[in-house]
Structure formats: C-alpha cells, structure tokens
C-alpha cells in the first residue's frame, strides 16, 4: 500500500531523509521511532506531498505521490500531533465540513456514529472545538479519517500529551482500522505504544532507517535497549 524507493530529502547540505526504502502492506501498522530530527515527520510529509522529494519516489497504492498528488490525497488521512480544527465550529460541524470537502455526504446521525466510533462522547458533539481537550480533538481527527474512508493513515506523534486512558482508546481505534485494511504509518517517541500497536517498527536516526523489527519478535525491554544503543552509538560516532 505504501512504498518508498530511495526517498531522499535534503535542505541544502543537510539531508533530512537519506535513501529511505520502505514498504507497508494493507492493514499493517508501521511505527517509526527516532529522536527529534531523525526524519520521521519528513517521511510523512513526503508521502502526503506537503514537500517535494529531492530524489527517489513515494507511492501510495501504486500511485506516485509527486506525479498525482490529487489522487493520492484521496486515499490518505493525516492526524498530526495537535489536530487543529475551526475553533468557532463544533466538533460535529468540523466533521461535516471536512467530510463534505472530501466529497462525502452523510446525515447528522451517520456523522454522530463516526464520532462515537472515534470515541467522542455525544454530549461534546455540538460544543465548540475551542472548548475541546487535546484528546477530544484527536478523536475528531480520527472521525475525519473515518468519514473519508482513508486507505492509509499517517499519524505524527498522535498520543503525545494524551492521558493513558485516551492513549489506550486511540490505540484500540487504530487497531480496529487496521483490521478493516487501513495501513498506518505512525511517527512516535513512545516505545511502548510502538511495541503494542505496531506490526513492524522502524528505528530512524539522522535521516536513515537504521533497523526494522517485528513487534511480536521483540520485547519492550529489548526494543528499548536496541533503540538506545542505536541512538547512542550514532551520537558517539558524531
């Protein structure tokens, strides 16, 4: 579903992403781990077409992002660290707008159902987003992804700042979507979440994908050790 071939992004002499090769299957959850500036967000931005690649290609369902960004956008949903919505609109109105923008028309009941699936309480549907917590905004973000029937979900530090309960709810929804065939590429610092949620984990450092792990084949302790060793080793080299 997702494929990166020698995907590279350089800003002058600084290489933010260095020849990334990656393939993610339908329904797979792939977690990118790495410290700040490792290239996780750059990877997501390249797949979304927000920034042009310096070299290499990014494909979504076989369509090259740089060639037909309009078509690839149809297939994706993006949930950033902070989901920013129109503050003077309610969660329901925001959902209605973004679903309409994606060309989908739903009744209020159907939209309400999506909000419920995303975990938002009915009492919050019609409150203005300016009064929402970060977790509630994330849920509206998920609902937007749901109404769009996205094939691929990009998540950039989605649980950062969420309480454990909200974080757990979020993981459950992503797992559900995975079961429905939605591929997920998630950038995170949260090793535990990556271990529990992801099918595969990629560890990035200084723009390079240093190691790929299968979640089921590695314990949390091992993952932590591998991660720290990789990052430390590189920092020592630097």
């Amino acid at each position: 579903m997702l494929k990166a071939v020698n995907l590279t992004k350089a800003y002058g002499s600084h290489t933010a992403l260095d020849h990334l090769n990656l393939e993610i299957q339908a329904g797979e959850i792939y977690c990118l781990l790495g410290s700040n500036g490792a290239g996780k967000s750059t990877t997501i931005n390249l797949f979304l077409g927000f920034i042009p690649a310096t070299s290499g290609q990014a494909f979504i369902d076989g369509v090259e992002v740089s060639v037909n960004n309009q078509a690839t956008r149809d297939m994706v949903a993006y949930i950033p660290e902070i989901v920013n919505l129109y503050p003077t609109l309610s969660g329901m109105e925001n959902l209605e707008f973004f679903s309409g923008l994606s060309g989908f028309q739903y009744t209020k009941q159907e939209l309400g159902r999506f909000m419920e699936i995303a975990g938002l309480q009915a009492s919050a549907f019609h409150k203005r987003v300016s009064s929402y917590s970060k977790g509630m905004r994330q849920k509206v973000g998920i609902a937007i992804a749901l109404v769009k029937k996205a094939k691929v979900l990009f998540l950039d530090e989605p649980t950062s700042g969420l309480d454990p309960h909200a974080s757990n709810e979020f993981s459950q929804i992503i797992t559900q979507l995975s079961l429905q065939g939605v591929s997920t590429l998630m950038a995170t610092h949260d090793l535990l979440m990556a271990k529990n949620l992801g099918h595969r984990i990629g560890i990035m450092h200084q723009g390079r994908l240093k190691q790929e792990l299968i979640s089921n084949e590695v314990s949390h302790v091992d993952l932590t050790r591998i991660y720290i060793d990789l990052v430390k080793e590189k920092e020592v080299n630097v």
């Binding site: 042009p52 956008r73 993006y78 919505l85 609109l89 994606s102």
Partner: protein, 487 residues
C-alpha cells in the same frame, strides 16, 4: 469544482463569519455609518428641492408684483408715483429689479448618494444682465474638481470606509488557516487549495455585496422612492460599486496568495488603501494645481476692469458723448434724475457690459482652459487610484460632477445672453424710454431647469472595464501564486 463543494464552503463561511463577533460588530457599525451617510445625502437633496420650490414661488410673486405695478402705472396715465429708478416701465429698471430670473440645476435623485460638487458649486443663479453669475460669489475660485474627498455621503463610505471592512473580512483567509493549523487538514483533503481559497474569497464577496445591497436598496427606496431603479445611472452605480468591492476582495486574495502572516497581510492592504485612496489623490491635487494653476478671482475682476477702463479712455468717450450730448439726456447738468438719464444710464450699462463680458470671456477661457487640462490629466491618471476613479464615476452618475456643473454654468451663460438680448433693445428704445409693458413682463426669458445627469461624456464604461480587467488580472496572478504555493 462540484456544486456540493460550493455548498460545503458556503455553509462553513456562513458559520465562521456569523460567529466572528468583531466582524459582525464592524459590519453593523459600517452599516450605521452608511445609513447616516444616506440620510445626510437625502437631507441635502431634499433641501435643494425645497429651495427650488421656494425659488419658483418667489419668481411667481415677483412676476405678479411686476405686472401689477406696470398695470397701475398704465392706468395712472403713465405716472409712477415713486422713485424713478423703481419705475418698472423702464426696461433697465425692470432688468435690475423684478426682472432677473433664476437659472436652476434640478437635483438628480442619485445626488443623495453622492453629494459630489453640489455643496460647493451653486445649483442656482439669479441671472442679471450685468453681473456674471459666478462673480456674485465673493470666495476665491478653486477647482473643486480636485477636492476629491468631499462630504460624508454614501460614496465616501463606500469608496473610503468599506474597503477597510473588506480588508478585515478577507486579510486572513489563507493565513488564518496556517496560523490556526487547519491548513494541514485542508491540504490532505482532495480539493485544490488554490480553488478552495478562491471559492472562500468568492463566497465572502457574494455574502458581503449581497448583504450590502439587500440592506441598502430598501433604505434607498424608502428615502428616495423607487424611480431611481429605472435609470441607467443607477444600474451603472450598482455595477461599479459591486465591481469596486470585487476589486478589494481580489486584491486581498492576491495579498493572501503570497502566504505571509495575517499581520503582514493586513499591513500591506492598509498601506495600499492609504496609498491609492489618500496619498495619490492628494499628490495629484497638489501636482495638478502646480502644473495648471487656476487664475485668481482678483485677476478675473482686474481683467474686466482694465478692459472697461481702456474702453472709456478711448472709444468710451464717443459713447458718453453720443449718449449725453442729446438734449434729452443732459445728465451732467441735471439737478434731478430725468427719464432721459435713466435711459442713458441703461445704454451705458449695456454698452459697457458688452465690453466687460468680452473681457471676462478671455479670463474665463484661461480659467476653464486650466480646469479642463486638470480634468484631462485626472482622466488619464485615475487608474492610479481606484478610489479616485470611483469618485469620478459616481459623481458623474449622480449628476454632481464638475463637468455637469460646468455644463449648467455654460447654459446659464447662454440664458444670460438671451436675457440681455431681450432687455437691450428695450433699454435702447429712445422714442419714449418707457416701453416695458405687461406683455413684455410675460415674455421675460425663463430658464428651463435640468438635472444634468447624462454621463455620456464620462469614462463610466471604461472604468467598468478597468475594474473588470483589474479583477481578472489580480485574480489570475493570485491563482498562479497559490498553485505554486501548493506545489
């Protein structure tokens, strides 16, 4: 772009705009100002109509009085019991006293929208055979054409204040998306960002302009009646104001397309407003007055005086000799005023008036020549300032442009000449001197009032096309910029 998307954006805009308390308050304040401006314009229009009504009554009373007095003298064997200079049977006396008629420029209904020059230029003159109408005023002559920002009227609010409201309405259409973070979600939608922003600005334009006319037209109909709706002047006004708003919306769209912050957008737009709306017209005013200075009123009067003095120093002696050598007009020797003196004085007045008028025409040609040069320069340069162009065209459509007052003034000149031609033969009729009858009183020339609202001389269609071209050009540039930003 599908109609469904237009509906989605329309709903979003309605919600976002109606919930923006600052914007709603500003719009309400502007509408209050517009209402006040309409009321002021309408008051001035009504006041002029009332004045014209009083003039008509006054003229009828004067004519009645004149005829009554002539009849009384005729019935009394041509004996006038009072002062000889008041005897209306002398044409010269009537020409000075009850005879002068008013020339009136009828106010046009759309004058209520644009006071224009109507509060500076006289809309009526009492036309004398001697005094030139504009010399009955004591103030210095200015080209009021260059006083671009005039009264607090509808045109002022629309041209100078509404662009500020439009700026508040649109300065952050794109930048707010970036600043509040919704830009990211918009970019992952499957719509073109350039089209989305265009559509949002377009919808705001339709909402703004639609609401504006929706409120203004009923107010105008209430104040002015509905007759203006059937004039082409009104429909041009409607089209130009709508396009002028469109220009500011598109300009804001263009500034937005440079993807700067909301603060920078607002500053750039305010600067453009100040530069094109205030600075350029003022620079033009100073520059044109320097390039084509207007002769002073004193110089006009001096020109006349010099011409008269010159005449009396040379050829005028012949005239006085001719008039006063007559045994019937021994004015110099007489201890009382005789009919011959009145006759003779009248002849001197009209002979010298012809000389004064000829001299005044030379001075006038200088004055109007300069003003016409200024006018031509403004027409050539008005594209530098959309506000100035709008002011020019709205004045023309309201019948309050300098050009229209000038046309009125020229008609008054013609009317004055007609009046002189009516009185002069009667003043110079030597056999009895006292020739002015009731029949003459009834045939004193009168001025047919007109509103001078024709605008075929103006650049209204060119301005329409200019605004349209500007909107298309700026819109296209903005669209290109946004497409690039999207990539």
């Amino acid at each position: 772009m599908k109609l469904a998307i237009v509906r989605v954006i329309w709903n979003l805009e309605l919600k976002i705009l109606s919930r923006n308390k600052v914007l709603v308050a500003l719009f309400a304040i502007m509408l209050m100002m517009l209402l006040s401006a309409l009321w002021i314009g309408n008051s001035m229009y009504r006041k002029q109509e009332q004045t014209i009504g009083k003039i008509q009554v006054h003229e009828a009373e004067m004519l009645d009085s004149l005829k009554t007095r002539i009849r009384r003298i005729e019935a009394n064997h041509m004996v006038h019991p009072g002062f000889i200079w008041d005897d209306p049977t002398f044409a010269y006396n009537t020409a000075r006293n009850e005879g002068p008629k008013f020339a009136v420029k009828q106010p046009f209904v759309l004058q209520a929208l644009n006071v224009g020059q109507s509060d500076i230029q006289p809309f009526y003159y009492k036309v004398y055979i001697n005094k030139k109408q504009y010399l009955t005023y004591e103030g210095e002559i200015d080209n009021s054409l260059l006083q671009f920002i005039g009264n607090f009227d509808f045109a002022f609010v629309v041209i100078y204040l509404f662009p500020l409201l439009i700026i508040v309405f649109t300065y952050n259409v794109l930048s707010s998306e970036k600043e509040q973070g919704t830009w990211v979600l918009l970019k992952t939608s499957n719509q073109s960002i350039a089209r989305l922003i265009q559509l949002r600005v377009g919808i705001r334009y339709v909402l703004f302009t639609g609401l504006f006319w929706f409120l203004v037209i009923p107010i105008m109909v209430t104040l002015l009646g509905s007759s203006f709706l059937s004039t082409s002047n009104w429909w041009w006004t409607f089209a130009l104001v709508s396009l002028y708003f469109g220009f500011w919306f598109v300009l804001s769209f263009l500034v937005n397309s440079f993807s700067m912050s909301s603060t920078v957008n607002a500053m750039v737009l305010i600067f453009i407003w100040l530069f094109t709306g205030i600075l350029i017209p003022n620079l033009l005013q100073i520059g044109l007055n320097q390039a084509y200075p207007i002769p002073s009123r004193i110089s006009q009067t001096n020109e006349e005086r010099k011409a008269v003095n010159k005449y009396f120093e040379k050829d005028g002696q012949l005239l006085t000799k001719e008039v006063f050598s007559s045994p019937r007009t021994l004015i110099r020797q007489a201890s009382i005023v005789t009919p011959g003196m009145v006759y003779g004085y009248g002849v001197i007045v009209y002979k010298s008036q012809e000389i004064k008028d000829a001299a005044a025409e030379v001075a006038e040609r200088k004055l109007y020549g300069q003003i016409e040069k200024q006018q031509a320069a403004i027409q050539a340069l008005q594209l530098l300032s959309p506000a100035l162009m709008m002011q020019e065209e709205l004045s023309a459509l309201s019948g309050t442009h300098w050009f229209q007052f000038n046309a009125f003034s020229r008609d008054v000149d013609q009317f004055r000449k007609r009046t002189q031609q009516f009185y002069y033969p009667k003043m110079a009729y030597e056999s009895t001197y006292r020739t002015f009858s009731v029949k003459d009183a009834e045939t004193i020339p009168t001025f047919t009032p007109r509103s001078y609202h024709a605008y075929s001389w103006s650049t209204v269609p060119q301005a329409f096309l200019s605004y349209l071209a500007l909107i298309v050009l700026l819109g296209w540039i903005g669209h290109r910029k946004l497409l690039n930003a999207q990539r």
